[in-house]
Subunit: 548 residues, 2 copies
């Protein structure tokens, strides 16, 4: 409880005090907030990825499953949080934390997010959100326009229409993708004659009515894992998520897609949706969206673009051509908490056709009544926060040209890093950056030579040892705490599609300077020398290959 | 951009500035934050529900679908937000805003939420959350223990186990309910012989393998609308969500449940889950959970308890007996953003059996690798914020006895209000409060008398007029802006289950005093007199009934 005297009694009066807005700038809570801000600012300013403490040690601080019987003072608990939580958090906004899709955030979002927390609106219905509802509808309209470029008349007709929704704001890309496929599934299995639609009668009856043996969603083998979840949840089954092979640039092969669709149809399996990826999570590659759109039109498939990460590129007039064809999609996923630099929990799905979401519309007696403008009638989630206001604010304060500059600089930085890697004799760029994401590995020239000339068996063996090395370097670098790159497994065509572990780097943080990139490589090179046993094994195998 | 000089250029240097932590307490941003805090505190202190402005007028401020080409200064935009957004928001924390499940929040959550926003952790994986992952696991453990009361050994074995999860933290009760039914569906249609399980092969093949004609989830007719969404999404179909009739206290009739299960089985429809509601959204009623549990055990059904709203009652040793039987459930939904007083966006689902979530487990190459402690392998959502830390903090600062006091006071306040309504000759209590939620309507004694003695036709007609009156009072009161109650439609047994519109009140805000409750009734009484035409119609019909 907030109190100058350390009485830790539970009384209703002390409880009432904690629910009451503190008076004046000298309240205890204001002082706590100031201390907290100073501490957080210091944390954010220190460019260290994480103070290293083994997870098992950290878990000891979070091991008690009993809800405390004794209240703590706010000041004491704040200190406890700073000691046990903040100091052992990941500095996701550090300029050298380049392994995931996190970044530094525009600092003005910290004070502005107070509006969201303090007003605690619930966007499921107008009655608990009022102006936040039109605001969210405008944000959806802005993103819709960014993708589909409809005219003013379109938006003044649909944006605030009670019975329509241009999309859904949601907690993230996974829910956005599920929503898109939910809409696509329900439209593919809609009411027809005596059949009342899959939403009413369920998937089993729908399949029998339409006479299908199965359903399929097609996506490149680089599609996001959330699509497997979506296929599972929606009753399609993970096997119904059909992976199409990619070319050497990790882009879906349209011909292979066509062939697969024909095969599925021959088996009486309905391919009801194709997903184009605009920025794969692992390599940042963009599928040939126009070709996919043409195939979808021919085959009467829902065309969804998963642009959760890459969608923000549309903000740049210099690079939006990379996403050509997105405007042909029936639906598009964009995460604002990725390259729109909004805090975690801001995803969106947009639909080209304002009528598309009818197939998932729902109502209730006490809210979401027909004709209301309640956003909840078209969302998978129910109660939701006013997160859209942070997107709204960032759009206004940064503006489109500001976002353009951020996107452009990120792409240029990735090109710089790709060139830097290529200049190093002992590193191999595994995937070229299309946007600001690339992959590479440590591969000294003599090992590379051996890998190229080895026979199939030796090649696999050597590659496995290299995988171990890459893993070792990545883990050690993370644990050292100065910088962080992530790792994933690819099947590069230049290495006969062997299972290859690579470093993965995302360069979205505007504070990441070129000097950091140099340092990251130098550190990796040094760490490689800290695994003498592994290096000895590799060298022995290289010798064997060379002797053959 | 933050700047003393009003240059509104877009330059990379000015962009870098907005991503950089401001130095010192006199920065522009610190001043903006102080102004904002003052303004928000003032908003929160004024006990007015909402400044009234027609929605159509508000929409004009949010009508431009173009992303701005010109950046705004943070200070200008903050003022813009205060004018157009904050001033037309709903004061959900006002003591007289008693229509929905919102409340004032403990004020210490405002500064503490800074930690969440500033650190911007992503809970999908350890690599972007570190200490936040064990913290969230502890919060899930605490809620699990609150429900299931397992011993220390249980929690030290399972709480931090890499391959297990005691539940899932999610954005809200809807996702929690969907997750529970997803798990239940997948366990009911699990791998068996050559069949690889519904998650792999999909619902159609699963049904054929198991030889079912349909699937069913049973819940009382008062179940939350999110369950319809869940049935739709999961491919069961809304018709597979079977509504069971309730008794005069809005509780499911166990005998009717048994009969319906038998009927479904006779039709070869598999009832794979039954949902008990612990606090219905419309009436706050609690189903007889122990009876449902016994039926579920007999019928081998998954037993889910939707305690999204009522679950917090378990915190009170004085009232937790009301939820007896919750501990027998296979899964339980609890929303922390309802009666645990956490900001919007904090739902949870807990599973009795630590192995239960295996049926929805998923992995990917770059994260959620097998054996990692990444929370993302057991959640429907992907990227998620560190919201669990606010639950953790509130548990420690308020403590269980503090929550107990809050819960007890809310229930007692509802009893007080119920008695107050009963004492008024011109109001009718429609549903008694079991927790802190009740429904009632304005019904002067002579109209009540006529309604009781009218013939079927007249009764329906009079009731419809009363519905119009209730609706008019509720809307006018909301628009007047001093207080807010919501409305819903019930079928009270005392009125032959006629479709009856009622006022709905939730008394969870500790700042709501008894004086406010008196005022709400007085205001409603006065508003009733502002509808002379409607009142005249009612009086004419009453006269007709009395003359007959």
């Amino acid at each position: 409880m907030v109190s100058e005297h350390r009485t830790a009694d539970v009384s209703f009066d002390s409880l009432l005090r904690i629910f009451t807005v503190p008076e004046g700038p000298n309240s205890t809570l204001t002082q706590i907030e100031e201390k907290l801000s100073r501490n957080l600012n210091q944390f954010l300013r220190e460019h260290i990825v994480a103070e290293e403490k083994p997870l098992i040690e950290i878990e000891k601080d979070f091991s008690n499953a009993s809800i405390p019987e004794q209240p703590e003072f706010v000041s004491d608990h704040t200190q406890h949080l700073l000691d046990t939580l903040v100091s052992h958090s990941v500095h996701t906004s550090a300029p050298s934390f380049i392994g995931h899709m996190t970044s530094a955030l525009p600092y003005f979002l910290m004070p502005l997010s107070k509006i969201m927390i303090a007003l605690n609106q619930n966007l499921v219905k107008i009655e608990t959100s009022k102006a936040f509802t039109p605001l969210e509808r405008q944000v959806l309209g802005m993103l819709h326009r960014l993708i589909y470029s409809q005219d003013d008349a379109f938006y003044s007709k649909w944006m605030h229409s009670a019975n329509h929704s241009l999309g859904a704001f949601c907690s993230g890309g996974t829910i956005a993708n599920i929503t898109a496929l939910w809409v696509a599934r329900n439209n593919a299995l809609k009411a027809d004659g005596n059949f009342k639609g899959v939403e009413k009668e369920g998937l089993f009856k729908a399949m029998k009515h339409y006479g299908y043996e199965g359903l399929a969603v097609l996506v490149s083998e680089r599609g996001h894992y959330s699509l497997k979840k979506a296929a599972d949840v929606l009753g399609i089954g993970q096997e119904g998520l059909v992976a199409i092979k990619t070319d050497s640039n990790n882009r879906i092969c349209p011909d292979a897609l066509k062939v697969r669709i024909a095969e599925l149809k021959a088996q009486n399996i309905k391919p009801f949706a194709v997903i184009g990826v605009a920025g794969t999570t692992e390599t940042g590659s963009i599928d040939p969206l126009e070709s996919i759109a043409a195939i979808c039109q021919q085959e009467d498939c829902h065309f969804h673009v998963d642009a959760a990460w890459g969608g923000a590129t549309l903000m740049s007039n210099n690079y939006r051509h990379l996403l050509s064809g997105t405007e042909l999609a029936d639906s598009v996923t964009i995460d604002a908490h990725k390259q729109l630099y909004i805090p975690m929990g801001a995803g969106m799905v947009l639909f080209k056709d304002p009528e598309a979401m009818k197939s998932i519309e729902h109502h209730a007696q006490y809210i979401l009544r027909k004709g209301s403008k309640d956003l909840g009638s078209h969302t998978l989630e129910g109660s939701r926060s006013g997160m859209a206001m942070l997107v709204y604010a960032a759009m206004h304060i940064i503006s489109r040209p500001g976002y353009e500059l951020l996107i452009d600089k990120s792409i240029e930085k990735a090109k710089y890093f790709a060139n830097l890697i290529k200049e190093q004799p002992d590193f191999e760029l595994v995937s070229e950056p299309e946007l600001c994401l690339l992959t590479y590995r440590y591969l000294p020239p003599h090992i590379k030579g051996a890998l190229a000339s080895a026979n199939i068996e030796q090649k696999a063996e050597l590659n496995e040892l290299l995988n171990e090395l890459t893993k070792f370097i990545q883990k050690t670098q993370r644990e050292t705490g100065k910088s962080f790159v992530s790792r994933t497994r690819l099947n590069p065509s230049q290495w006969d599609r062997l299972n290859t572990i690579v470093f993965r780097v995302v360069l979205a943080n505007p504070l990441t300077g070129c000097d950091i990139l140099n340092t990251v490589l130098e550190e990796q090179r040094q760490i490689a020398q800290q695994a003498p046993n592994l290096m000895a094994k590799i060298e022995a195998l290289v010798e064997k290959v060379n002797a053959a």
